[in-house]
């Protein structure tokens, strides 16, 4: 457990872990425990978001995150709409904001946005009245992935504070690395970023991370190793020598695994390139938390959907109350009721 007490949630959007306090992060993690319990029931559904509409607005491919958000929304009894940029009016030139406003006009309560541009969720949140959840914006942040990684670590070790967490691979292009870095630092873990200089600029030191270009230098001292996917679609050829060389220097191979701490915990946000950044034996082995991450992702997303929706609701209620006060007029005492 982290020392920081959970702090009640008041945000109608979840855009980035950078802007959350340790108390807010702990509040989401605590709330997620209750939703994890819902998933153990025979009827895996609660009416918490009954009558609400959640739209998955995805401008990039995704299997896990989209499915996880859809299932999370269904377990809360919300209605879910899936919107892919492919085959939509986006290909006819519609802007993100116009697309989102049109969808919002259909009565949507929460937009879950994935977009290739960093800052897309922030931009959208300023132009719509409903809640916005960032499901990945370019190389910027993927807050629910960060939260579920931290939840999984906390569940495994019983704490986050004081742990040494290595995040390995293509850091420069990774929103998962950034969200993990912010969240883990706030909860008092030490974050060691590992990767080749072309994919791991020194600038990350300013965000409070230790930057290491030699995996073997730290492999024996870390409690958690989070292996990132090599994002071939984002990497320019000049940043990356060859797959073989990458695996040799930064892959979690059998040989390298032997030099890890005995109780090391292995994570990967998926989808995995088996044999490139991680070998199958380790990914499927007893030290791996990879599938637990996926199950926990569901609980985290239920918690986030629930919390932003409650905050949005409270904001609306407060607005209505303020409007009612403005319009209140003294009634004539003898006013007659119409039959």
């Amino acid at each position: 457990m982290s020392k920081t007490a959970p702090q009640p949630w008041t945000r109608k959007h979840l855009l980035a872990l950078e802007e959350l306090s340790a108390g807010e992060i702990n509040y989401v993690l605590e709330t997620a425990r209750s939703f994890a319990e819902v998933s153990t029931r025979s009827i895996k559904k609660v009416p918490a978001l009954r009558g609400r509409v959640v739209v998955n607005l995805f401008f990039e491919d995704s299997t896990r995150t989209r499915t996880s958000f859809s299932l999370a929304a269904s377990r809360l009894s919300a209605d879910v709409i899936d919107f892919s940029a492919r085959g939509s009016s986006v290909s006819k030139g519609e802007t993100l904001i116009d697309t989102a406003r049109n969808i919002e006009a259909m009565g949507v309560d929460i937009i879950v946005l994935r977009h290739p541009a960093a800052g897309a969720a922030h931009l959208l949140s300023r132009h719509v009245r409903c809640s916005v959840i960032n499901a990945g914006d370019g190389a910027h942040e993927h807050p629910t992935q960060g939260l579920l990684d931290i939840y999984t670590i906390r569940q495994h070790f019983g704490r986050v504070e004081g742990l040494k967490v290595a995040i390995v691979g293509d850091i420069a292009n990774s929103r998962v690395a950034r969200s993990n870095l912010w969240g883990l630092r706030k909860l008092g873990a030490e974050v060691i970023l590992v990767g080749p200089p072309t994919l791991l600029p020194r600038a990350f030191e300013r965000l409070g991370a230790r930057v290491v270009h030699n995996f073997d230098e730290v492999i024996g001292e870390v409690d958690v190793i989070n292996m990132l996917r090599v994002q071939f679609e984002r990497i320019q050829s000049s940043q990356f020598p060859s797959v073989g060389e990458f695996t040799g220097l930064f892959g979690l191979t059998r040989e390298r695994f032997r030099r890890c701490k005995k109780d090391v915990f292995i994570m990967h946000p998926g989808p995995m390139n088996r044999g490139i950044e991680i070998c199958s034996e380790i990914a499927d082995g007893p030290h791996s938390g990879i599938l637990t991450q996926v199950s926990n992702g569901l609980a985290i997303r239920m918690a986030v959907l629930y919390l932003v929706s409650q905050a949005c609701e409270r904001e609306r209620a407060a607005g209505e109350a303020a409007a009612a006060v403005r319009h209140e007029r003294p009634r004539p005492a003898d006013r007659k009721h119409h039959p």
Partner: protein, 176 residues
């Protein structure tokens, strides 16, 4: 804040409840006792241990968090983080005693009933409360009541405090 009952009053109330419940359920038959978080959980625990002293041997206990089932959250939602429901017991075809501290509008009870039905099909569900303060908004009544308070204005809050959760056993009335 006006104190309606002190430690002795709370103890007597719980004992009276346990006696009434004992008269309605056989000691050798299974009985599930489920408290509504937070004060209902403590009350359920106390009732269960009194019944066990009376020889009830097949009591199973559980805790229900009804937040996801409320119709008035976020207005009246808990200031605390939601905690997991703990119902690791078999509900089907067994009597269930639902326990809450104060019965007011009946909306918490409604939420609890909805939640319970998602977990199974008890043979009967009975409701035990320490205080019935009137003011019902739904057609719900308690089967076991220790104290009935009449004409408490809705602008007042009736609270049961327990040592475990609040540092003292008492029943108090205070303006909202």
């Amino acid at each position: 804040m006006q104190r309606f009952h002190d430690e002795t009053g709370v103890r007597k109330g719980v004992e009276a409840l346990a006696a009434d419940i004992a008269a309605a359920f056989a000691p050798d038959a299974p009985l599930n006792i489920i408290g509504i978080r937070t004060r209902g959980e403590v009350l359920a625990q106390r009732i269960a241990s009194l019944l066990q002293q009376r020889g009830y041997s097949k009591i199973a206990r559980g805790v229900l968090d009804i937040t996801f089932y409320r119709d008035d959250f976020p207005k009246n939602g808990p200031g605390r983080a939601i905690l997991p429901t703990e119902l690791n017991l078999e509900l089907d075809d067994k009597p269930l005693l639902l326990v809450d501290d104060v019965l007011f509008t009946g909306r918490s009870t409604r939420a609890a009933l909805n939640a319970l039905i998602d977990f199974g099909r008890p043979s009967v569900i009975r409701l035990a409360v320490l205080v019935d303060r009137g003011g019902r908004e739904l057609p719900i009544a308690a089967d076991f009541v220790a104290y009935t308070m009449k004409d408490v204005p809705p602008s007042y809050r009736v609270s049961v405090h327990f040592v475990e959760t609040d540092g003292a056993d008492e029943i108090v009335i205070e303006p909202r």
